[in-house]
C-alpha cells in the first residue's frame, strides 16, 4: 500500500465512524435545540438500541454470523430490524421524557440534566443485569462482501450500508424539520417557546416527538454499530456517546447540519490521528480540537450566536 492508499483507507474508516457519530449527535442536538437540555440518557438509549436490534435478529432466527443472506431477503430482514429497533428506542425516549423529564420541565437549574445522568445509569445497569456483562457476539445476516481496489484499499458492504442508511435518515430528518407542519412547529419551539405556545402549538406533543425522533435515530445507530462491529456490550454507550456529544458541540449544539458535519470531523480525526500519531492519543486530539474550536468560535462550526432564551 502506498501512502495515498493508506490515506484513502483511513478516510473510508473515518467517514464510517463519523456517520455513526452523526446519527447519535442528532439526538443530542435536537433535544437541546428544543428545550435546552443536554440529555445524557441518550448515550445508553443508543446502547439499548443495539440490544433491541440484536434480540430482534435473534427472534428472526439469526445467531452469530453463520447465517448469511443476500439480495432482497437481506434488505427485508434489515428493514424489519431497523423498524423494530427505531420503534423500540423511540418509545423508550418518549417514556423517559413523559415520566422523568416532563415533571421537571419548569424546574430551573441543573436538575433535569442530572436526572438524565441518573436515567443513563439505570439503563446501563438494567442491561448489565438483564443481559450479562460479557461482549455479545452480534447476530448479523450481512455477507462479508467487500471490494478491493488500487493498492489494497478495501471498501466493505457494511460500510456502504452504514453510509446509505445514515444519509437517508439525515435527509429524511432534514426534510421533516423543514417541510412538514410538525417540523415547522419544532423550529418555532426552538426559536421561542412562549410565542410558539401563544400561536397554538402543543408544546408537549412537540417535545415528545423530538424525543421520539432523536431516540429512534440513536436506535438506528445502535443497530448499525452491531452490524458494523459484529459485537455489542452494555459498555458501548459511553465512548460513542461522548464522541457524539462532542460532535454536536463542535458542529454547534442545536444545529442539525452542524451535528452531521461534527460527527464526520470527529470520525476523521480518530482514524487519521490513529494512523499518523498514535491510537492512544485519539481522545487528546479530539478534545484539544474541541477546546480550540470553542475558544475561537464559541458557538461551534455552524452555530449562530442566539439570544439567551431564559
Amino acid at each position: 500500500m502506498t501512502q495515498w492508499d493508506i490515506l484513502l483507507q483511513q478516510v473510508i474508516n473515518g467517514v464510517s465512524l463519523g456517520a455513526m457519530y452523526s446519527l447519535l449527535a442528532l439526538g443530542f442536538t435536537m433535544v437541546y435545540g428544543i428545550i435546552e437540555l443536554i440529555n445524557f440518557a441518550h448515550f445508553n438509549v443508543f446502547m439499548v438500541g443495539s440490544f433491541i436490534a440484536m434480540w430482534a435478529l435473534v427472534a428472526m432466527g439469526f445467531a452469530g454470523q453463520s447465517h448469511v443472506l443476500h439480495g432482497l431477503p437481506l434488505i427485508g430482514v434489515l428493514a424489519v430490524a431497523f423498524l423494530a429497533t427505531m420503534l423500540g428506542t423511540g418509545i423508550l425516549g418518549v417514556v423517559i421524557e413523559r415520566f422523568a423529564l416532563r415533571p421537571l420541565r419548569n424546574v430551573s437549574g441543573t436538575a433535569p440534566m442530572i436526572t438524565t445522568i441518573g436515567l443513563s445509569y439505570i439503563l446501563y445497569n438494567v442491561i448489565l443485569l438483564g443481559a450479562g456483562a460479557d461482549s455479545k457476539n452480534y447476530s448479523n445476516p450481512m455477507p462479508n462482501t467487500h471490494w478491493d481496489f488500487l493498492g489494497g484499499v478495501t471498501l466493505r458492504l457494511r460500510e456502504v450500508l452504514l453510509w446509505v442508511v445514515s444519509l437517508v435518515l439525515m435527509v429524511a430528518l432534514h426534510y421533516f424539520v423543514r417541510h412538514t407542519k410538525m417540523g415547522k412547529a419544532m423550529q418555532a419551539m426552538a426559536q421561542d417557546q412562549e410565542a410558539a405556545r401563544m400561536v397554538g402549538i402543543d408544546v408537549d406533543r412537540v417535545v415528545m416527538l423530538t424525543f421520539f425522533l432523536g431516540s429512534a435515530l440513536a436506535g438506528a445507530a445502535g443497530l448499525i454499530f452491531g452490524l458494523y462491529y459484529n459485537y455489542t456490550s452494555y459498555l458501548i454507550g459511553y465512548k460513542a456517546g461522548l464522541r457524539a456529544f462532542t460532535a454536536a458541540v463542535l458542529g454547534g449544539i442545536g444545529n442539525i447540519p452542524g451535528a452531521m458535519i461534527g460527527g464526520v470531523v470527529i470520525g476523521l480525526i480518530e482514524s487519521l490521528g490513529g494512523q499518523y500519531i498514535a491510537v492512544r492519543w485519539t481522545d487528546v486530539i479530539i478534545f484539544s480540537l474541541l477546546v480550540l474550536v470553542l475558544v475561537l468560535r464559541p458557538t461551534g462550526l455552524l452555530g449562530r450566536a442566539a439570544p439567551s432564551k431564559s
Binding site: 493508506i6 483507507q9 452469530g64 454470523q65 457476539n137
Partner: protein, 415 residues
C-alpha cells in the same frame, strides 16, 4: 388498623432476625473449628466466564475437604469476593484492593485463592504483605509482583505472599516468541496490548525476546479496551504487512480485535497469551473471527491429562460446565492451602496467617499438575507454557472451549 398491623409484623420480623443473628454469631462458631479462605476473581464484566471456572475449581477442592469432615478438624468456609465492577466492565484493581482489605479485616481468613488478573494482583499484594497473608493465584502471570527487584513495592514486609500455580509472563511471552520463530517461521511482527498491567507486561516480554531472536518488530500500539473501533490501527498494520500480530491482553479488547482483524487482515498469523485462552474470548468473538488465533496458558495443559480425569467428571457433575486449565490450577492452589492448614494443625503451631504462609512457602504438594513447590519469591518451579490454536469444530457446541481449539504442545523454553 392496617398500619398498626404492618408495624407489628415488622417488629416481629426484626426480633426474629435478631434471634437468628445472635445464635449464629455465638453458638455455631464457638463449637466448631473454622478457617476461612478467600476467593477473589472478577465475576462481573468481560472476564466473568473464565473467572467463574476458576472460582468453581477452588470451590470444588473446599467442598471435597468438607465432605470428608474438614481438614484436621477444621471446617473450610470459602469467602468469595467479586473483583470486577460494572463501571470497569472487567476486573477492577480498586475493587480488588477493597476486597483484600475486607479479607484482612476478618481474623478467621487465613489465606486466599486469586486473583485471576495481574492488575488486581498488583493492588492486592502490598495489602497482603502488611497482613502477612498468602494468596495463591491460579492465573495471574505478571512477573513484577514476585520480582525481588520490586519487592519494596509489592511486598514491603519482605516475605513472599504472592504464590502462583502458573508460571509468569517472563516465560509466557518469550516462549511464545520462540514458538513464532521456530514453528511458525515468523520474520516480522506487530505487537499490541490492551493498556492493562497484564497485557503491557506480556506484550513487552514478548517484544524483548522477539528482538533478541531476530524477529523484526514493526511497531507496538496500545488499545483502549473501552474503545469500539480498532480498524484504524489494523489498517496501519495492514499497510506495514508484518507476518504476524501478537496481542497481550484480556478478552474485552481481544474480542473486538479478533472480529476486526478477521475483516482487515484475515490471512495474517495472530496470537496472544492466556488472556484470550478462554470462554470469554471464544464466546464473544465467535467463529469465523477467532479461527486460527494462537493462544497460550502459563502452565501445562491438564484438562486432557489422565491425572485430571476424575476432577473433570466431578466438576462437570457439580457445575454442569466444562472446566478450563485454570480451573485445575485453581483446584491445585486450593489443595496447597488445605495442605498448609493440615501441616500447621499437625505441627501444633497456632492456626493463623503467618503460620499458613510459612507452610505454603515450604510446601511440596502433590497436585493434579504434579508436585507444586515455590521459589523464595513465590513463583512455581515448573515453567511450562502450552500453546493452543482455535479451530472450529462444527459438530461440538460453539462455546465448548476444549473442543473448539487444538493443543499444539509446549512452547520452546527460554533459558
Amino acid at each position: 388498623m392496617h398500619r398498626k398491623y404492618t408495624r407489628r409484623a415488622f417488629n416481629a420480623g426484626v426480633a426474629s432476625i435478631a434471634v437468628i443473628a445472635a445464635t449464629d454469631g455465638t453458638g455455631a462458631l464457638a463449637q466448631e473449628k473454622v478457617v476461612k479462605i478467600g476467593i477473589t476473581v472478577p465475576l462481573t464484566g468481560a472476564d466473568a466466564e473464565d473467572a467463574t471456572r476458576i472460582k468453581d475449581g477452588a470451590t470444588l477442592a473446599f467442598d471435597e475437604a468438607n465432605a470428608k469432615g474438614g481438614v484436621a478438624g477444621y471446617k473450610i468456609v470459602p469467602v468469595v469476593y467479586d473483583n470486577g465492577t460494572a463501571t470497569a466492565g472487567q476486573y477492577d484493581p480498586a475493587q480488588a484492593a477493597t476486597n483484600t482489605k475486607k479479607l484482612v479485616a476478618d481474623p478467621q481468613v487465613i489465606a486466599n485463592v486469586g486473583p485471576e488478573m495481574s492488575g488486581d494482583g498488583k493492588a492486592m499484594s502490598p495489602i497482603l504483605s502488611e497482613a502477612d497473608m498468602a494468596t495463591i493465584t491460579p492465573a495471574s502471570t505478571n512477573p513484577d509482583i514476585t520480582n525481588p527487584a520490586m519487592a519494596h513495592q509489592f511486598r514491603p514486609k519482605g516475605k513472599a505472599v504472592y504464590f502462583r500455580t502458573v508460571t509468569t509472563d517472563a516465560f509466557q511471552g518469550p516462549n511464545m516468541a520462540n514458538f513464532y520463530k521456530e514453528r511458525l517461521h515468523v520474520k516480522s511482527v506487530y505487537v499490541l496490548d490492551d493498556s492493562g498491567a497484564y497485557g503491557v507486561g506480556l506484550a513487552n516480554a514478548f517484544e524483548a525476546q522477539a528482538k533478541k531472536i531476530g524477529i523484526k518488530v514493526l511497531g507496538h500500539d496500545q488499545l483502549d479496551p473501552r474503545e469500539a473501533d480498532y480498524t484504524t490501527v489494523l489498517t496501519k498494520i495492514k499497510s506495514l504487512n508484518p507476518d504476524a500480530i501478537y496481542y497481550g491482553g484480556v478478552a474485552q479488547a481481544g474480542v473486538k480485535l479478533a472480529k476486526q482483524a478477521y475483516e482487515t487482515v484475515p490471512k495474517m498469523i495472530k496470537g496472544g497469551g492466556d488472556g484470550i485462552q478462554g470462554g470469554s474470548f471464544l464466546k464473544g468473538g465467535g467463529f469465523p473471527a477467532v479461527e486460527g488465533w494462537y493462544c497460550t496458558i502459563a502452565g501445562p495443559h491438564l484438562t486432557e491429562s489422565p491425572a485430571a480425569a476424575q476432577f473433570m467428571r466431578d466438576y462437570h457433575a457439580k457445575f454442569n460446565d466444562v472446566p478450563s486449565d485454570y480451573s485445575i490450577t485453581a483446584y491445585d492452589a486450593a489443595k496447597v492451602i488445605l495442605a498448609a492448614v493440615e501441616a500447621v494443625a499437625k505441627s501444633g503451631k497456632p492456626m493463623n496467617r503467618s503460620t499458613i504462609r510459612d507452610a505454603i512457602q515450604s510446601s511440596h504438594v502433590k497436585t493434579l499438575q504434579g508436585e507444586v513447590a515455590f521459589d523464595k519469591n513465590g513463583d512455581i518451579l515448573d515453567r511450562t507454557v502450552s500453546v493452543f490454536q482455535y479451530h472450529q469444530n462444527p459438530n461440538a457446541p460453539a462455546d465448548d472451549l476444549a473442543k473448539q481449539q487444538k493443543y499444539l504442545g509446549a512452547a520452546p523454553q527460554t533459558a
